[in-house]
């Protein structure tokens, strides 16, 4: 006698409360201190660029999901995160339409053409940023001093003119979200506490940069606090979709990011190598996963 009320499904019958949507919204929450700091330092430009980037990202996602005849799942929050990350990586005076273009590229070229959420090999926000940086080089390197619209020539990474305290609190020129180490660390602590950020990637990334800066006679603290290293190591390199899934692989990925960053910073013609360091390592992610498979329980380690 079968009871038709009973649900039949395979085990396990209970699930963890965390969802992909909650993870995305937690990343948004972690970016709030960064955005708040950016707005404090750079005023309306911060609100303008981040809002526009978010709206363009979510809008592009909705339109392209509809065009691909897929369910319009913008509520998953992933496009929101991409838009916010891109907006916060832009210089304060960038024209609005460029931010829109960057978001469109991030979502459509960076994500949807590969199959949408989870299928993209490269960090979408960085794809958008890379295209903007290559296309509008002067606008993407036009910096202003905090609290003013006074145009300045260079960020502290290039000028070398900022105190540790200024770098830590963020009262220096730079992209919206990158200047305040304090705000970034606050967000990073939240992500770590919620189990979203794997410490291996930022520790490997920042640690490698620190060691190599020391080896090559640079000011280590200055190298760590200036530029977009912290923002990238905490929020960009740790993107789940585009970083390795194995514990050892995450070390390799973080260390690799640090190596590429240092090469670009010290010997490249670009002032900052954050974007490309992560994009390069994103390309290696599938191989890193393959090379760093965990030893399965009970498998004897082969004697060499």
């Amino acid at each position: 006698m079968e009871d038709s009320r009973l649900v039949l499904s395979p085990s396990p019958h209970v699930r963890d409360e965390d969802t992909t949507q909650k993870i995305m919204l937690t990343v948004v929450a972690a970016l709030i201190p960064v955005w708040a700091a950016a707005t404090y330092f750079f005023g309306f430009n911060s609100i303008r660029l981040v809002f526009v980037s978010i709206i363009a990202a979510v809008g592009s996602e909705a339109v392209f999901l509809a065009l691909r005849r897929k369910p319009v799942t913008v509520w998953d929050g992933s496009a929101l995160v991409t838009g916010m990350l891109l907006g916060l990586s832009l210089p304060p005076t960038l024209p609005t339409w460029m931010a829109v273009l960057g978001s469109f590229v991030a979502i459509v070229i960076g994500k949807q053409v590969f199959g949408g959420l989870g299928a993209n090999p490269f960090n979408p926000a960085l794809v958008g940023r890379a295209v903007l940086a290559a296309s509008f080089t002067s606008q993407m390197t036009a910096w202003t001093m905090p609290f003013t619209d006074a145009v300045t020539s260079a960020t502290p990474l290039v000028s070398g003119q900022a105190s540790y305290a200024e770098l830590f609190f963020g009262t220096v020129p730079g992209s919206l979200g990158e200047t305040s180490a304090l705000a970034i660390l606050l967000g990073g602590v939240l992500l770590f506490y919620r189990g979203i950020l794997d410490y291996r990637i930022p520790v490997g990334f920042i640690g490698t940069t620190a060691i190599l800066s020391f080896v090559f006679g640079q000011d280590v603290v200055y190298q760590l606090l200036s530029g977009s290293l912290l923002f990238g190591a905490v929020f960009m390199a740790t993107d789940m979709v585009t970083s390795p899934i194995t514990p050892v692989g995450r070390w390799v990925f973080g260390v690799g990011c640090g190596l590429v960053l240092v090469v670009i910073r010290f010997w490249g013609s670009l002032p900052e190598g954050l974007t490309y360091s992560i994009l390069v390592m994103n390309a290696f992610t599938p191989l890193i996963n393959r090379w760093t498979r965990p030893r399965i329980y009970g498998q004897v380690v082969k004697q060499v």
Partner: protein, 441 residues
């Protein structure tokens, strides 16, 4: 808590043990009719020894097999055989079963006990355990006697008695350790003698302080060590228990004996004590009936063969609309669609989830968060095996260790995208086994 034994991986689901953890074991009266499947253990099914119309005595052997891996089956009531026919069982298949009408007399078949069974010779203990049809009561229902004879060339150094009960909701093992402490300890000693173990360790999750205290009080005087395990699922998995307690690993696709260990559940020890002391075969066991879908959750001592329907009725019936009825716990238990299925030796509980809790989930795309990799207690990459399984790439799935999966369900539990990782891995395992048998034939 100091020095809790732990292992890498695992998850922390809501344990929900408070529902029944302070409820003493109640003896559930035998039902009017029992249905006793002849295949309720791992290995070859037993052949029926009775036919329709036969009178049987309580504890009489009604099924046996000459195969090396099998277990005898006994009736849990006295009365008349109504039928020997296929009946629904908890794994969803019909299994040849003996249906017996209970005459209410509990007229016992002759049983040979021993006042001080630990004095019995080693081989005699093993024989009595075999004759009693004892199988692993933790869930896998592997015939105990077969497990007690270590394979050639293996020496059992450690006997681990598994009192972890890491499945959420279930409290049957806990109550057994609290109320039948002496039987469990005696059983542990008997099992140790039967397998020739040098040392016996009883491992209990730290969330059962009363069971730990009672076991320690009694075991301490018997040269048995009691250790506390970190509270984490699946602490009671055989491989995880060996890793946590002994820091050894069972060789891949091998047996625990190959690393000098043997694991038996506390319920199995209790059954072994009853078999050797009273000559009583395995005809009853302790189960937990629990969940938000049942009115009066409880721990029961029930006769093997009691239909789920009778047990749920005894526990006050459904509370509201039932969603799922699960044989076992929420992590590895089997969902049921027919409440006439009987309790068998390996079922440690009935979990009734209300329709509010028994959710179905729509999977979202994988975001490669790698939580499944982090929690896998055998260190697999579940997401990668899932991907290969979805693309019917069975060789690759095997290469990534699909056959090493213990089906604990941690990956599916933790997945934020609610993907059915374990279901895909199970499919891969089935396909791999089929491919191998095609290849060898």
């Amino acid at each position: 808590m100091v020095n809790l034994k732990n292992f890498r991986g695992g998850v922390h689901p809501e344990y929900n043990k408070h529902i029944t953890s302070d409820k003493p074991i109640k003896v559930l009266p035998a039902p009017k009719e029992v249905v006793i499947p002849l295949a309720q253990h791992a290995g070859a099914p037993a052949e029926p020894l009775v036919k329709k119309g036969d009178s049987v005595l309580l504890g009489q052997e009604i099924g046996s097999s000459a195969e090396p891996i099998s277990a005898a089956v006994h009736t849990s009531v006295s009365g008349t055989v109504l039928a020997v026919e296929p009946r629904p069982s908890i794994n969803g298949r019909e299994v040849l079963s003996v249906v017996i009408e209970n005459d209410g007399q509990d007229a016992k078949a002759p049983m040979t006990g021993h006042d001080d069974p630990i004095q019995l010779p080693r081989e005699e203990i093993r024989k009595r355990i075999e004759a009693a049809g004892i199988v692993g009561l933790g869930g896998a229902a592997f015939p105990t006697a077969a497990k007690l004879s270590p394979p050639r060339g293996c020496k059992i150094e450690y006997l681990l008695i598994n009192g972890s009960e890491c499945e959420p909701y279930l409290t049957a093992d806990q109550k057994l350790m609290e109320e039948y402490t002496e039987d469990v300890v005696l059983g542990a000693k008997l099992l140790a003698k039967a397998c020739g173990a040098e040392k016996t360790i009883i491992a209990i999750e730290a969330n059962k302080p009363e069971a730990l205290r009672k076991m320690k009080a009694l075991a301490g005087s018997n040269a048995i060590e009691v250790v506390a395990l970190a509270v984490k699922y699946p602490a009671g998995g055989e491989k995880q228990l060996i890793k946590a307690v002994l820091n050894r690993e069972v060789p891949a696709h091998g047996l625990p004996a190959q690393c000098g260990a043997l694991v038996h559940n506390v319920g199995t020890a209790w059954a072994a004590a009853k078999a050797c002391r009273h000559g009583q075969p395995l005809i009853e066991r302790v189960i937990t009936v629990t969940g938000d879908g049942v009115k009066a959750p409880a721990n029961y001592l029930v006769r093997i063969g009691t239909p789920f329907r009778d047990i749920i009725a005894a526990a006050g019936g459904f509370a509201g609309e039932p969603g799922k009825v699960i044989a076992g716990g929420p992590m590895m238990g089997l969902a049921q669609f027919d409440l006439n299925v009987p309790i068998v030796k390996g079922v440690s509980g009935i979990l009734v989830l209300s329709d509010k809790v028994a959710n179905e989930f729509d999977p979202m795309p994988c975001i490669k968060c790698a939580r499944c990799v982090d929690v896998c207690p055998v260190y697999l990459m579940p997401v990668t095996i899932e991907k290969y399984a979805m693309n019917a790439m069975w060789d690759e799935a095997e290469d990534y260790g699909a056959m090493d999966c213990i089906e604990c369900g941690c990956c599916t539990y933790i997945c934020p995208s609610k993907r059915a990782l374990l279901s895909w891995i199970r499919l891969a395992k089935t396909e791999i086994v089929e491919a191998h048998s095609r290849h060898s034939s």
